[in-house]
């Protein structure tokens, strides 16, 4: 409980109260992937984004993060301005994890923590929570697939933010860590966070589900 108090402390001023997708449609490479996608996510709720390969889950997550343009519809973050919400209110962890293989895990985690507005203390706590302490001095290229994914996920804890956008977060994790990360997700929800995760297997927390039909 002590850990929770520090990790999931006040989310700052830019707290997203609600994520609202209304009539979203995305076009990639001239093809309309989907249209009319609606979703409402409040604090404490999670949503599993499912659908066959190529249906547009990743694209939708990127659109919520503002990295891909919507063909139609809109994304609203409660009554927050969307530039502010995207800048300070959400985390995005995709397939491409943004880790430089030639730098050490410590350098990368420290940088991304700073970038997200976290402190040095947060770096340590995040590393502890994901059992990375032993690995921090290895270069990223030497990490195993699961270790590397844990390093990417540790950013979620290092700087607390309300909305987590996760793209297949569990896939290279072993059974123990799927459960372990499930616990971390549950804590995040409990403390008022939101999770939107593209997955092929069920999420390890209670969640709504949004299926995209390609």
């Amino acid at each position: 409980m002590r850990r929770r108090a520090t990790l999931f402390k006040r989310l700052g001023d830019s707290v997203i109260e609600q994520l609202l997708l209304r009539g979203c449609a995305i076009r990639r490479g001239g093809r309309l992937l989907f249209e009319g996608v609606d979703l409402s996510l409040r604090r404490g709720e999670a949503c599993a984004l499912t659908g066959p390969n190529g249906s547009g889950k990743t694209s939708l997550l990127r659109a919520v993060a503002g990295l891909v343009r919507l063909e139609a519809g809109e994304v609203a973050f409660g009554d927050l301005d969307s530039a502010e919400a995207r800048g300070e209110g959400l985390h995005f962890v995709g397939h491409a994890d943004g880790l430089k293989s030639s730098r050490t895990a410590r350098e990368e985690l420290a940088f991304w923590t700073r970038w997200g507005g976290g402190t040095d203390g947060a770096v340590r706590e995040a590393a502890e929570a994901l059992d990375l302490v032993r690995l921090l001095d290895l270069e990223v290229r030497r990490l195993s697939a699961g270790q590397r994914r844990r390093l990417a996920l540790s950013r979620l804890l290092a700087a607390p933010r309300a909305l987590w956008l996760l793209d297949e977060p569990l896939s290279p994790l072993d059974a123990r860590w799927r459960e372990g990360f499930g616990v971390l997700m549950a804590r995040h929800l409990e403390s008022g966070g939101m999770i939107l995760a593209a997955v092929h297997d069920p999420l390890p927390v209670a969640a709504k589900s949004l299926e995209i039909i390609g």
Binding site: R62, A65, G66, L67, V68, R69, E84, R86, G87, E88, L90, F92, G94, H95, A96, D97, G98, L99, K100, S102, R103, E107, A110, F111, W112, R114, W115, G116, G117
Partner: protein
């Protein structure tokens, strides 16, 4: 502020890695400056005449060499996505990226340039001017070069496409700097060349980040 300084440190470290630290940077410079006389022949007069210019071209080319991956790595491994998702405007991020690039490679090269020129036979009193030109020129190269690097993101032909975009943008500073050096060597007034170089550098620092940020957003979407 801590966010920005962390970015600057990271970019400098990455550029240092890409560029390989001072030893490597200066080694490269020395190598280029040695190749030229070897190719041209060792007559001292001929060499001394072209020495400052050669050092200057080597600087442009060295900048070019270390530039093309300024954005590409971040683009391919997803770091650019995360850099965009921040309250820091992307323009400022791009500015700091280029600044880091310049600190890690431009500044050491500027220190090496006068030495290389004198080794090639230039008069020692040219050294301060060469240093000033290299410092300003490096800034211009880093910021205009960044534009090329950002524009060729996601293009089918990375690499030399950057070079083709960047070289026309490198030409004006090369002219200005080369003109100033030439004028100084012949005892003519040289300050206008340096002033133009400074103006060009200032303009690239001002405009470059805008263009880079627009190009990055475009590549990501």
């Amino acid at each position: 502020m801590s966010r920005l300084s962390a970015l600057l440190v990271r970019e400098t470290a990455l550029a240092w890695g890409r560029g390989g630290g001072p030893l490597v940077t200066v080694g490269f410079y020395a190598g280029v400056a040695t190749l030229l006389p070897l190719a041209i022949g060792p007559e001292p007069e001929r060499l001394a005449a072209i020495a400052p210019g050669a050092a200057w071209v080597a600087l442009a080319l060295a900048s070019l060499l270390s530039l093309d991956r300024l954005f590409e790595r971040d683009y391919e491994d997803g770091a650019l996505d995360l850099l965009t998702l921040s309250p820091t405007p992307l323009e400022l991020t791009c500015f700091l990226k280029c600044l880091g690039q310049w600190l890690a490679t431009g500044a050491p090269l500027a220190l090496a340039a006068p030495i290389a020129a004198i080794a090639l036979g230039a008069k020692p009193d040219l050294a301060p001017l060469i240093f000033a030109c290299a410092l300003l020129g490096g800034l211009a190269f880093a910021f205009t070069g960044g534009i090329g690097a950002a524009l060729s993101l996601g293009a089918r032909r990375g690499g030399l496409l950057t070079a083709v975009i960047v070289l026309p943008l490198f030409v004006p500073p090369v002219i200005f700097g080369g003109g100033a050096l030439d004028a100084f060597a012949s005892g003519l007034p040289w300050s206008s060349g340096l002033a133009l170089l400074g103006a060009y550098a200032a303009m690239s620092v001002a405009i470059g980040p805008l263009a880079m940020a627009a190009a990055c957003r475009n590549a990501l979407s």
